[in-house]
Symmetry: C2
Subunit: 219 residues, 2 copies
Amino acid sequence: MKKSFFYLTLALIGLGMLAASCSSKDESNATAAVSAADATINTIMQRKSVRSYTDSTIAPELMESMLRAAVAAPSGMDVRPWHIVVVTDKSKYDELFAGNFNMEKFKQSAAVVIFCADTTVTRPPREDPNAPAVTSPNPIWRDDMGACTENFLLAAEAYGLGAVWTACYPFHDRMDPVANYLKLPSNIVPYSIVPVGYPNGEFEPKDKWDTTRIHYEMF
Amino acid sequence: MKKSFFYLTLALIGLGMLAASCSSKDESNATAAVSAADATINTIMQRKSVRSYTDSTIAPELMESMLRAAVAAPSGMDVRPWHIVVVTDKSKYDELFAGNFNMEKFKQSAAVVIFCADTTVTRPPREDPNAPAVTSPNPIWRDDMGACTENFLLAAEAYGLGAVWTACYPFHDRMDPVANYLKLPSNIVPYSIVPVGYPNGEFEPKDKWDTTRIHYEMF
């Protein structure tokens, strides 16, 4: 009887712990559901400019995921003006980035990603691969490129990488060496340059919330 | 003896289930850790243009969270050119959006968010509130505004809302009625217009991955 009482107690403790565990699992699932949105918001709020990187390289599948995120950006009239060049050969940086003044961040980074834009309208061939491309100046290619660069930066932040948006267009002292080195056609312009790598140190995002910039109904 | 064997079995089953539950909890925690990044990537990949909305309104704290995400965008030289106007008074839309051709999406939406830009450099006063503002043409305000608009769209997607980037700048037929109605100073231009609301229907993101747009080391 003593023995069976012991086993009964053991069974009850086991079942009690199981019940507690199940209940805490439910809470954890509920938290996970909420934090799908929160995780995105958190990434956006935590994104910061990182200009110093460790020696670690970036796994190719991580880089591809970030590039996929970049080209998932919205594009006016679905033109998708982007061409993205990923460069890791540091021996070329002095020539490629002759127009930029902070070479140190480029040389430290695992990769430098150059976001270029086709400034002429070219409908994506997938819509009708046999149709001739419709080409004319695109007045809003720059806006697509901003979203494309930001998507990449957010994906980098999500993966624990550090990156920094470096303006290229419309500064010809920065654009020309890049265009010359990459032999870009005249309708393709280098828009932004993003070094990316694992952060060397701790970096904090800026708090940019300012209610004087937010207006309701009227400016 | 039979009874104690029964309790022993019960205890073992209980402990076995507990162990299984703990192990599955560990897996679930591991999944949750991975999916903080995955959730962000998923939001970026799932963002789509939504032009039809239900009658549901947007909770003010959700709108504020999206606006906070918008102004967390990177900004060249930390200028933060954005001014954001949230409009919900549909009786003004015919005048305000006289230059836009798809009024239906605006009238259906819970709110129309107008992203404006101060095109002159104004250092944030928080850095030195007593210093005079440094004002001059800012050659890269447009890039900040692209990132700002994209952050808002991603936050909307994260919250299960639908939105669509509607170009305003540099089209004067769209910009002028907005600027006139809002009485914008000449250095503030309406850049993009984003109607937002709960999606009316199912919408799918486009697959924009195209390896011909991705280059390694050379264009």
